[in-house]
């Protein structure tokens, strides 16, 4: 045993010989009991109660969240997969066929769109200037007036030639509904 340990052991032995005064304990407890807060208003009990309620609330919420997370959000599951039984060659043919059908559909839609712009019939006319703007004098001696808006739109779509001037013979193309699709110069043609 080291010297320090010996001193410590002797100190503890010495302390064990001593007893704290019992009268102090009695006095202290009597005073403490007199001052003790009534159980109904015991702050400790209230704190404990509130803490336990809060803990339970957090626990229930946690359990609820966990349950909700575990519950699936779907009821029917559809599994889509490539038919594994098909051979690679057949699979390629199937894909090619699907692509072809898609292309055919797209092409049909494109043709349909083009037909809208394709001329249904054409008429010859002479370009004249009127007070209201441009006009087209047809072979039937009818005057077709072109609004400035239509002229701009045709020019923007490059369906009206830039170099056209008064007196030029032009060919007017109409669509199915009789709307002007384009105006082109027709120098060799006359009514």
């Amino acid at each position: 045993m080291s010297k320090d340990e010996q001193l410590k052991a002797l100190y503890q032995q010495r302390k064990e010989q001593v007893k704290a005064p019992h009268s102090t304990r009695q006095l202290l407890l009597t005073k403490a009991r007199a001052e003790q807060i009534k159980p109904g208003y015991n702050l400790w009990n209230w704190t404990l109660g509130v803490s336990l309620c809060a803990a339970l609330l957090v626990l229930f919420q946690f359990v609820g969240i966990t349950h909700q997370q575990l519950r699936p959000e779907y009821e029917v599951i559809q599994v889509h997969r490539l038919n594994e039984e098909k051979q690679p060659g057949e699979l390629a043919a199937l894909v090619a066929e699907q692509t072809r059908v898609e292309h055919a559909d797209n092409y049909a839609r494109y043709i349909q769109g083009q037909q809208i712009l394709t001329a249904h019939h054409k008429r010859l006319a002479r370009l004249v200037n009127t007070e209201d703007g441009w006009g087209l004098q047809t072979c039937d001696k009818e005057l077709v007036l072109l609004t400035a808006q239509l002229v701009d739109q045709l020019r923007n779509n490059r369906r009206l030639e830039e170099q056209l001037k008064k007196g030029d013979e032009v060919e007017i193309a109409f669509d199915v509904d009789g709307r002007i699709v384009s105006i082109k110069a027709a120098p060799g043609l006359h009514c």
């Binding site: 320090d4 010996q6 001193l7 410590k8 002797l10 503890q12 010495r14 202290l28 702050l43 400790w44």
Partner: protein, 186 residues
């Protein structure tokens, strides 16, 4: 802190002095104070008894515990309860010495008989007790606080001294005790 105390209470796990005091501060429950008294009263009384006469030691011990009751709201839950208790007691003792104009450091060190309660059986224990009582007051105080489990920093805080002074007092106290025990029992 509160929740851990509540759980320990529910599971009947023994609470530390700090936990008991924290609960006592909140509730004022006399049984908690009784537990604290049972845990620390002997240590405190022995400390005071070694630094003063039995009557004064009992009086200061009682005042210290009453002060624990009165000043419980000033207790910091992060502090060591025993250090707080010993600080209260030490301050009361020093106040008493100042009031009665007795300065322990200047007193002649003499061997005192503690009466029948302190009669020891073994020669070594008797020699130790006598050697302890012949130590200068502040060395005795530092040595006892050290034996009560306080570190140098704690002792410095309890006594209001710097740590180097405490180290010095401890060194001299141990040296003198060893010397006296050596002379006695070799």
């Amino acid at each position: 802190m509160t929740l851990s105390i509540a759980i320990k209470s529910l599971l009947h796990i023994e609470l530390s002095n700090e936990e008991l005091m924290s609960r006592y501060v909140l509730s004022g429950d006399a049984s908690l104070l009784a537990k604290l008294y049972d845990n620390c009263a002997r240590d405190l009384y022995h400390f005071l008894l070694t630094l003063s006469e039995p009557e004064l030691a009992a009086d200061i011990a009682q005042k210290s515990w009453l002060r624990v009751m009165e000043k419980r709201h000033m207790y910091h839950s992060n502090g060591q309860f025993k250090a707080w208790l010993f600080t209260l007691a030490r301050n009361l003792l020093m106040d008493e010495y100042r009031r009665t104009k007795r300065y322990p450091l200047l007193e002649a060190c003499e061997v005192r008989d503690q009466g029948s309660q302190n009669k020891v059986d073994g020669t070594l224990l008797k020699a130790f007790s006598q050697a302890l009582e012949t130590l200068p007051f502040y060395q005795r105080e530092a040595f006892m606080l050290y034996q009560e489990g306080f570190g140098v920093q704690d002792i410095a805080l309890i006594t209001g001294e710097n740590q180097e002074t405490i180290k010095s007092r401890l060194r001299y106290a141990k040296q003198q005790l060893r010397q006296q025990l050596g002379e006695c029992c070799e």
